[in-house]
């Protein structure tokens, strides 16, 4: 009988998983904003990935495989309101602080704040393609949707961010983000409701 947990296979898996952890952290932080919750999400992803390691095909992209798991965990957690309760104040302090009326280079905090106002589907599409460097095809596989859908989401996300940045309308106050966040939650509820099975294939 083949030993699916052969020590060398496990060691390879572990090594590859460690290698993608920084990317998981970056993706998670882009998705949910708060560094501590993002890291919780990554640890949850690690547990799930470890438990499902037999389903990982060696030679395929560990980063894409774990992003699917992280994404599904995020959607489930969001649905359970895990990120909703303490979003407002803490995020406002830690991430949503920006020098008012600044000129010149765009600060990373501006970028992050603008990103967090996007509907989750567009945010994740832009994160995957524009930040994570995935192709449209890979991003479509991660999100379980058509390539055209990803292209459209990325296009809309870019247009929204571009407009926000060029017009100087990046939200600066937590209250405005709370409004945006409610909108995000509503859209997310619909997203999750329409796709009940989080699959990590």
């Amino acid at each position: 009988m083949a030993d699916v947990h052969a020590p060398s296979a496990t060691a390879d898996f572990k090594r590859e998983l460690i290698a993608v952890l920084p990317h998981l952290r970056a993706f998670a932080r882009g998705l949910c904003g708060r560094p501590d919750l993002a890291d919780d999400l990554v640890q949850e992803t690690m547990l799930k990935a470890w438990a499902a390691q037999d389903r990982f095909e060696p030679g395929t992209s560990m980063r894409a495989w774990t992003f699917v798991i992280l994404r599904n965990a995020y959607l489930t957690d969001m649905r359970r309101n895990r990120f909703r309760a303490d979003y407002d104040e803490t995020v406002a302090e830690r991430i949503l602080t920006a020098p008012a009326g600044q000129e010149g280079p765009i600060h990373l905090s501006d970028m992050h704040r603008a990103l967090l106002t996007l509907p989750p589907e567009r945010r994740e599409a832009l994160l995957l393609v524009g930040a994570g460097g995935f192709s449209y095809e890979e991003a479509a596989q991660i999100c379980g949707c058509a390539v055209g859908t990803i292209k459209s989401r990325v296009g809309r996300a870019r247009a929204a961010l571009g407009a926000m940045i060029e017009d100087g309308t990046i939200p600066r106050r937590s209250s405005r983000d709370a409004v945006a966040h409610d909108a995000i939650m509503d859209e997310l509820d619909e997203t999750v409701a329409s796709r009940p099975h989080g699959r990590s294939a």
Partner: protein, 58 residues
């Protein structure tokens, strides 16, 4: 890392059609991501993996 170059190339392309170089903020998006990737990995992550590994073997 090998795919870092690919990521950068993609991010450059990310500016939109008809532009040789993306808008500044497109670069910022990648920087935002890379800034987290470049952070030192907190120890509790590797500790967790070691525990999982031990759990499987023991």
């Amino acid at each position: 890392m090998a795919d870092k170059k690919a990521m950068q190339a993609l991010a450059r392309k990310a500016g939109g059609p008809g532009k040789a170089k993306g808008p500044d903020w497109a670069q910022g998006l990648r920087q935002l991501y890379d800034s987290v990737v470049d952070e030192p990995l907190p120890e509790n992550f590797t500790r967790l993996l070691d525990e999982l590994d031990k759990g499987d073997n023991g």
